[in-house]
């Protein structure tokens, strides 16, 4: 039901008091401006009283003219005043109420059937700081902050062509979180934008505090191990993806943006690749691919080989493994599961623990897992070494840490119970699964497979900037598959 602004100041004030009256941050002051009875309404935790004073009240105090009624004052403020603020007229009390929650100030006047809203945002916010999750040596050190408007500025500063479009949406029934849909009008893949917008508009969540709430609605397989939607908190990464024809989604209150679509090879890319020389960047990329497979398969392969095909080990290593296995009470694959789960517990504890006692975690983990357990004979040294190598390799590809962790355990189980056949079949199942993912009609494994020239340009390897100048690459250049049934 719409509540129109009545023009009766007292009646309109009652509406706001009914909505916010019990809130400690609700600020309402009646005053006379240019001989017109007015009311200033704001939420003082998100809007600054000082800002409202400086922007509107002080200049108007010095205004020599008087106005006959509120409507005349409103007309003056919206159309003729030289005040340095950009007001917006509202006729709906519901819209005015919402404006208060976003840091705006609302000015009500006696006799005026519209209110004025103007921005006086002044809330505590985190400053722009370096990224915690995507660390780089070269390039920008800026990461997104929690404030959407500030993040928009970081993007606009980097993409200065008029093709950059930032659309505003709302998500969350009770939070009405502002969400930005960002793309480059001249480069975005046709059909992709409409598909993303349609999916976002269909979302009906109770609340949205992070872009990850929206990610499952944009993925083709929300329960799969791999996601066709990427996450970044770096403005340079987001701008690079937009300039490749992708679409980004940012939400207020979180520094993490969604990138759509996101391909498997992109997990092995970072901004440092483009600042380094091509030969080194290519080397690091290949290293990351190798690290991924080591992280996933090494513990399982070791367990399978040690239990089922020990003849493949060199003799001296075989004796050591046999001696170590003979001295421990648990079967090898249970040891592997135990050590890997323990590593995950330690990692999670290190993340959640207060920083003041966080250093104890690494000490306890090193002593207990690395030393005491091995000396006691609970677990063998080979399995600890393998688990450590696997864990370190997993850290090389942090965006794939979640699927790596799960797959690692699955490979250990497959190798320990079924041997080489288990590893083989699970690997094929994983390959089929990864290759079967489509993200908005595009293969998740592009440009690795189906093969595209981009594999040498910026997939498995990276060519130099000189070779790539004058070309405009977008995701529309990737091979498209034929008709598909996406139901």
């Amino acid at each position: 039901m719409e509540h129109k602004i009545t023009g009766n100041l007292e009646q309109d004030i009652v509406y706001f008091k009914d909505c916010f009256g019990k809130s400690a941050d609700f600020y309402l002051k009646t005053t006379k401006i240019c001989d017109v009875e007015c009311a200033i309404v704001l939420c003082d935790v998100v809007a600054g009283v000082d800002n409202a004073w400086e922007m509107l009240l002080r200049p108007l105090r010095e205004e020599p003219r008087d106005f006959d009624n509120g409507k005349a004052l409103m007309d003056y403020l919206t159309e003729n005043s030289a005040l340095a603020f950009s007001p917006k007229a509202l006729t709906d009390l519901e819209a005015a109420r919402y404006a208060l929650t976003t840091g705006h100030t609302v000015l009500l006047c006696q006799g005026a059937t519209s209110a004025l809203m103007f921005s006086t945002q002044d809330f505590i916010q985190r400053s722009v700081s370096p990224s915690d999750s995507e660390v780089n040596v070269y390039g920008s050190k800026e990461a997104f902050s929690d404030v959407l408007r500030k993040n928009m500025g970081l993007i606009r500063r980097r993409v200065r062509t008029d093709g950059l479009i930032i659309e505003s949406l709302e998500e969350g029934r009770y939070t009405r979180t502002e969400v930005a849909l960002i793309y480059h009008r001249d480069l975005v893949k046709p059909g992709l934008l409409e598909a993303v917008r349609e999916k976002l508009q269909k979302i009906d969540l109770q609340m949205v505090f992070d872009t990850s709430y929206l990610a499952p609605f944009l993925e083709s397989a929300p329960y799969g191990l791999f996601s066709g939607v990427g996450i970044t908190d770096r403005p340079d990464t987001l701008c690079a993806k937009i300039c490749e024809g992708k679409v980004a989604v940012l939400a207020d209150g979180t520094p993490y943006a969604l990138l759509i679509p996101y391909f498997f090879p992109e997990h092995f890319q970072c901004m440092d690749d483009y600042a380094s020389r091509p030969y080194y960047a290519s080397f690091i990329r290949l290293l990351k691919y190798t690290a991924f497979f080591i992280a996933v398969m090494l513990p399982g392969l070791f367990v399978s080989a040690a239990n089922f095909t020990p003849e493949i080990f060199p003799e001296q290593m075989l004796y050591k493994i046999a001696a170590s296995e003979g001295a421990t009470p648990m079967p090898l694959f249970l040891e592997a599961i135990f050590v890997n789960l323990l590593l995950e517990i330690v990692k999670e504890a290190g993340l959640r623990m207060p920083k003041s006692i966080g250093h104890s975690v690494s000490l306890v983990a090193a002593l207990i897992v690395g030393d005491a357990a091995v000396q006691f004979g609970l677990i063998g040294s080979p399995i600890v070494i393998i688990a450590a190598i696997s864990a370190i390799c997993g850290f090389l590809v942090p965006t794939l840490y979640q699927p790596i962790t799960i797959l690692r355990v699955l490979f250990i189980l497959a190798g320990g119970i079924l041997g080489p056949a288990g590893i083989l079949l699970l690997l094929m199942g994983t390959l089929f699964g990864i290759c079967g993912i489509d993200t908005f009609g595009m293969p998740y494994t592009a440009p690795l497979t189906p093969y595209a020239p981009g594999i040498l340009r910026d997939g498995l390897l990276r060519t130099g900037w000189k070779a790539r100048q004058k070309e405009t690459f977008t995701i529309s250049d990737l091979p498209e598959e034929g008709e598909r049934d996406d139901s």
């Binding site: 089922f308 079924l418 056949a421 034929g482």
Partner: protein, 346 residues
């Protein structure tokens, strides 16, 4: 219904077809050793491949870009072709499972129940079919890279033992070539499965079929030549000479590379199984339109399981011949009722 439109690119079709055919040259446990030298077998295989090319291309009228199958055809006349194709591919899939199991058992000493292996491989095949032909085709490209890596590694690890003097020359080449060609002639059901995929992918360039066979032939030349160069006369008594090369090859301190190679070749076998299973389900769905996709896959899995169990227990020396004859017959049956002939892309 299973996804009917599956427009694979020429590259994807090439890789899928090549993998399904080339693995039969590498992993063939229990096969009869060829008693001829490399020169004879290479010439014989060239003759065989030429015969296969002209035979199959003629039956399917490849030149005109004709579709072998139109799965949207609901007429009763095509159902026998669909059903026979389904049976052929189900048996071939079962044979692939049995071959994979025998190969892995021969390559290492680990013990695993055949029933468990059967269930797991069928589960993977069903999973791949549910994901669709694009998943299978894209995985083929990954597996191809691994296969190329394996082959190159074998060649590098055994080249040191190669001796040109091991190459033999025959005294009666013409007769031996003919004899070897007759003995070794086969038309793999994988070829039929490949044609089903091609049918779904629209008109293809004339050279695609030729390129696939040429690639297989070139691979055979490499395998045979390297085998004879390294093994010499011992190659004649090997049922899997290329696997023997894998066993004896070493690089520096790395021994037992055959475990790595066996693993990669088993991946190719599973890839082939996925192709056969998918196309079998497709044809069953074409024969019985009322079946849901899941039902078609379940029936296909059951048929493959029965075939695998039977072929796993009964060693049929005549099986390659039976499959060859069956494949040719099914090609003929399918070509009796073809779809429209769109112009080729050549």
């Amino acid at each position: 219904m299973l996804k009917q439109q599956s427009k694979l690119s020429s590259m994807e079709l090439f890789v899928t077809g090549y993998l399904c055919l080339v693995i039969d040259l590498i992993a063939k446990p229990g096969s009869v050793p060829i008693k001829y030298c490399a020169a004879i077998t290479i010439l014989a295989s060239a003759l065989d491949i030429a015969v296969v090319y002209f035979l199959v291309a003629g039956i399917t009228e490849w030149k005109n870009g004709a579709k072998l199958f139109d799965l949207t055809d609901t007429s009763v006349a095509v159902k026998p072709a669909f059903f026979c194709g389904f049976l052929l591919l189900a048996v071939a899939a079962g044979d692939t499972i049995a071959t994979t199991f025998r190969f892995l058992r021969s390559a290492s000493d680990w013990q695993l129940s055949f029933l468990v292996f059967l269930l797991l491989t069928l589960a993977i095949a069903v999973y791949a079919s549910k994901l669709g032909v694009f998943s299978i085709a894209r995985t083929a490209e990954v597996v191809l890279v691994l296969l190329i890596f394996s082959v190159v590694l074998i060649i590098l690890s055994t080249l040191g033992r190669a001796d040109l003097q091991n190459l033999k020359v025959s005294v009666d080449p013409a007769g031996e070539v003919l004899h070897a060609a007759l003995r070794g002639f086969s038309v793999s059901p994988s070829l039929f499965a490949w044609f089903v995929l091609v049918s779904q992918s629209g008109p293809q360039k004339q050279g695609l079929f030729f390129r696939v066979l040429l690639a297989v032939f070139c691979s055979y030349v490499v395998f045979t030549l390297v085998g004879e160069l390294v093994l010499g006369g011992f190659a004649l008594g090997q049922s899997q000479p290329f696997y023997t090369l894998a066993r004896i090859g070493n690089l520096s301190v790395f021994r037992r590379l055959d475990s790595l190679h066996s693993f990669v070749w088993a991946l190719v076998l599973v890839q082939k199984l996925a192709v056969l299973f998918y196309t079998a389900s497709l044809l069953l769905n074409g024969a019985v339109k009322k079946l849901t996709a899941n039902a078609a896959m379940a029936i296909t899995a059951a048929a493959c399981a029965v075939a695998a169990i039977l072929l796993g227990r009964i060693k049929m020396q005549m099986l390659p011949l039976i499959l060859t004859v069956a494949t040719i017959l099914v090609f003929l049956l399918a070509s009796l009722r073809k779809g429209e002939n769109p112009p080729s892309e050549s």
